[in-house]
């Protein structure tokens, strides 16, 4: 542009001057001008192409806030899931009335060319700060291998790895509550391999300390070795031009030692033995042409089966009695979530647990463990949520919860979940 103007000016001047010298000077001026314009353009490109790393050198920071109004027809203090060993996890229906949920503070960045680090702290509304996840992850291993070390959500099943703020319902499925104490985050190490196939296939192993249920709520065993092991594999791919799927199986094996639980009847019990959990999970996501902006549908389900055998100690009077204990229990949930117009989604979830067969050997007898008495809890949950942007969501959920053998808890939740700061990326 500048060149054209200068050239036009130069030409008219040259015609008037009619001398070779002046023409040469003008040509030189045009050349200089052209050079300056090119340099300025280059400088502009340089300036605008400054690498946009994650906030220069600061880690990407994000905060999740959530608040909830709960209306529960039953007293939460009497909450239990009949037929199943209490996990001492955060499985209850929460406080009645208005309350602040757990806030989350996440920091993540590449540490160097080899590692990436993530810290996710949960700040409970009452007291202190907990480490929800804090791990390093390799970036530069070849052949599809990734190693993760630290504290992380175990790759057992599907929903367990997903942060609560990204769940499609306010609370975890009953099966996750009884088999994984709501959500299992393990201190340990995970090795994962992604196969060089055209469809998705991964295989992974985890070794952990067993700091939480099912290995034990006592903070893990006091030993040098591994107390919790998990192996998993997933396959996934696309059907046509709108449906993506993934299915997986995982096997979590732990050896709880003195895993205590209090029976609501007033006794204190502890279990030592083997706990083996199989989880089969599947997820299907549909969106026309894989464009989920307008409408999309998500179907998700998991089946859990656990076998525990070992010794159970029963202490009602101060005189402890120990006997053999074996149980085989199972449960599943199936949920569907449909976005029918932009921003609005509806969902339904069905939960069912089967307390299965429980055997006690002498001197124990079933009457000593009322909470383990045979009962199959069920729950129906419906929800509708509105997400005006990718960063905010307001959800109304209603449930009919038959976790307790004697009463049905009608639960209504109104909840907001928002995220501030760095743009999070959510797992499939």
């Amino acid at each position: 542009m500048a060149l054209a103007v200068a050239a036009a000016l130069g030409l008219s001047h040259a015609a008037a001057a009619q001398t070779q010298d002046e023409l040469r000077t003008l040509r030189e001026q045009v050349r200089q001008l052209d050079k300056r314009v090119t340099e300025a353009e280059q400088a502009a490109i340089q300036a605008s192409s400054r690498p946009t790393g994650e906030n220069a050198m600061n880690p990407a920071v994000s905060v999740i806030l959530n608040g909830i109004y709960s209306n529960l027809s039953q007293d939460r203090n009497g909450f239990r899931i009949n037929g199943f060993t209490p996990t001492l996890g955060d499985v209850g229906p929460g406080k009645r009335g208005l309350s602040l949920g757990e806030s989350e503070l996440a920091l993540a960045a590449n540490i160097d060319h080899n590692f990436r680090g993530t810290l996710i702290a949960s700040i409970s509304p009452e007291d202190g700060i907990g480490v929800e996840e804090g791990y390093i992850q390799t970036l530069a291993l070849s052949y599809g291998f990734t190693i993760k070390a630290g504290r992380f959500f175990s790759g057992v099943g599907y929903q367990n790895q997903i942060h609560a703020h990204a769940w499609d319902f306010t609370d975890a499925p009953l099966a996750n509550k009884v088999f994984l104490g709501n959500q299992l985050n393990e201190d340990g190490i995970q090795l994962k391999w992604v196969a060089p196939t055209s469809f998705y296939w991964d295989v992974g192993v985890e070794a952990g300390r067993g700091r939480q249920f099912p290995a034990g709520p006592a903070g893990g065993r006091n030993k040098n070795g591994v107390s919790s092991g998990n192996v998993f594999t997933h396959v996934g791919g696309d059907f046509g031009t709108g449906t993506a799927w993934q299915t997986g199986v995982s096997y979590l094996s732990t050896s709880p030692q003195d895993r205590t639980f209090d029976d609501p009847a007033g006794t204190s019990n502890s279990f030592t033995g083997q706990s083996r959990l199989w989880v089969l999970d599947g997820i299907l996501k549909w969106a026309p042409n894989f464009n989920p902006t307008y409408t999309n549908f998500k179907l998700q389900g998991e089946y859990f089966r656990r076998r525990e055998n070992g010794d159970l100690t029963f202490d009602a009077t101060g005189a402890a009695q120990t006997g053999g204990f074996t149980s085989t229990q199972s449960g599943f949930y199936l949920q569907g979530v449909y976005q029918f117009v932009p921003m609005w989604r509806v969902g339904y979830r069905y939960d069912k647990l089967n307390s299965g067969a429980t055997d006690f050997s002498a001197p124990l007898n079933a009457a000593n463990f009322p909470i383990l008495a045979r009962y199959n809890p069920t729950k129906h949950t419906v929800m509708v949520d509105w997400s005006p942007s990718e960063f905010s969501r307001i959800r109304l959920q209603a449930a009919s919860d038959k976790s307790r053998s004697d009463v049905t808890d009608h639960q209504v939740y109104l909840q907001y979940i928002v995220s501030l700061g760095a743009h999070g990326a959510h797992k499939f």
Binding site: S48, S49, T52, R116, T146, S198, V235, F290, N291, A425
Partner: protein, 301 residues
């Protein structure tokens, strides 16, 4: 246990026995970069496009099939400038592939090679889904393609030295044809100069800048926020005072809002291909601009 082992061994040998693929495996985030890599690579590359013209590149699920593709990619080409921030970081960390991580030669952000428009002066989520690095949809200006192609060509030559000469000669031939096409398109685009246009999303800014059109408004009230009735009502009012001559939207946008405004304000709404594959005629990069201009010229006549 033995059966499981046998199964694993069988599967592994099936994997190892996969046929040797082309020299360079390219994973393109968007169809325009897949098309460019194909132009430069010819039969020396195997190109996979993660998205189609019917998908909004801002909102893509990190599907298992995409992780599998990134796992075996030698070169990842994305628009960058945070366009793919909701899905690419996950694909990178999940893939276990060091060749295409940020900072590796196999990681290529096209928008970093050109001057970006609309670098925000204020960065705040209240302004919508803005990109701190500037507008990432750089491919809608063909001159940007001409700037990106030589850099990409050299990158491909670096990653696959055995075929370097092929990439360079194909690149040279492409650029010659491309420059000639730009000259032709600029002639054709003369009637678009100064024409006021309503866009759906700010994904045509570079095209508008190139042709000298004038952006008169957008159907989205804020970037990334879907059109709302109140915003559309405002636009209709605005069109009464200062009418635009055309409304454009992309194949991945729902046509409803554009058609609504079109009927109320009596302004033609045109779906332009936006990227390769967006319309039947936009089969490659040349077709993309041929068809975009043809559709706009008919509408503003």
């Amino acid at each position: 246990m033995k059966t499981i082992l046998r199964f694993v061994v069988a599967l592994s040998s099936a994997v190892i026995a996969l046929p040797a693929t082309a020299a360079l495996n390219v994973f393109a985030c968007e169809p325009e970069w897949a098309a460019l890599a194909q132009e430069l690579g010819g039969d020396r590359v195997s190109v996979y496009s993660a998205t189609t013209a019917l998908q909004d590149p801002h909102r893509i699920e990190a599907r298992p099939s995409l992780i599998a593709r990134v796992r075996s990619a030698d070169l990842l080409i994305c628009s960058g400038s945070e366009l793919e921030i909701g899905w690419i970081p996950l694909l990178l960390t999940q893939s276990g592939n060091p060749r295409i991580q940020l900072g590796s030669p196999g990681y290529f952000e096209a928008s970093q090679q050109v001057a970006r428009l609309e670098i925000p002066k204020a960065i705040d989520r209240a302004l919508g889904d803005i990109h701190p690095g500037g507008n990432p949809h750089v491919h809608t200006d063909p001159r940007n393609i001409a700037r990106i192609a030589p850099v990409l060509m050299e990158r491909m030559a670096q990653l696959d030295p055995a075929n370097a000469e092929s990439y360079r000669s194909r690149g040279k031939s492409f650029l010659e044809r491309w420059q000639a096409a730009i000259a032709r398109w600029e002639q054709q685009a003369v009637p678009l100069k100064g024409v006021p246009v309503v866009v759906y999303h700010k994904d045509f800014s570079y095209f508008i800048n190139w042709t000298g059109m004038r952006e008169a408004g957008s159907l989205e009230p804020k970037p990334g926020i879907p059109p709302t009735p109140s915003h559309l009502a405002e636009l209709i009012d605005q069109m009464k005072r200062a009418p635009a001559k055309v409304i454009v939207y992309s194949p991945y946008n729902s046509p409803q809002a554009a058609e609504f405004l079109s009927s109320r304000a009596n302004i033609p709404a045109v779906m332009v291909p936006f990227t390769v594959g967006g319309t039947d005629k936009a089969k490659d990069l040349f077709g993309l601009f041929d068809d975009t201009l043809a559709r706009l010229l008919v509408a503003v006549k």
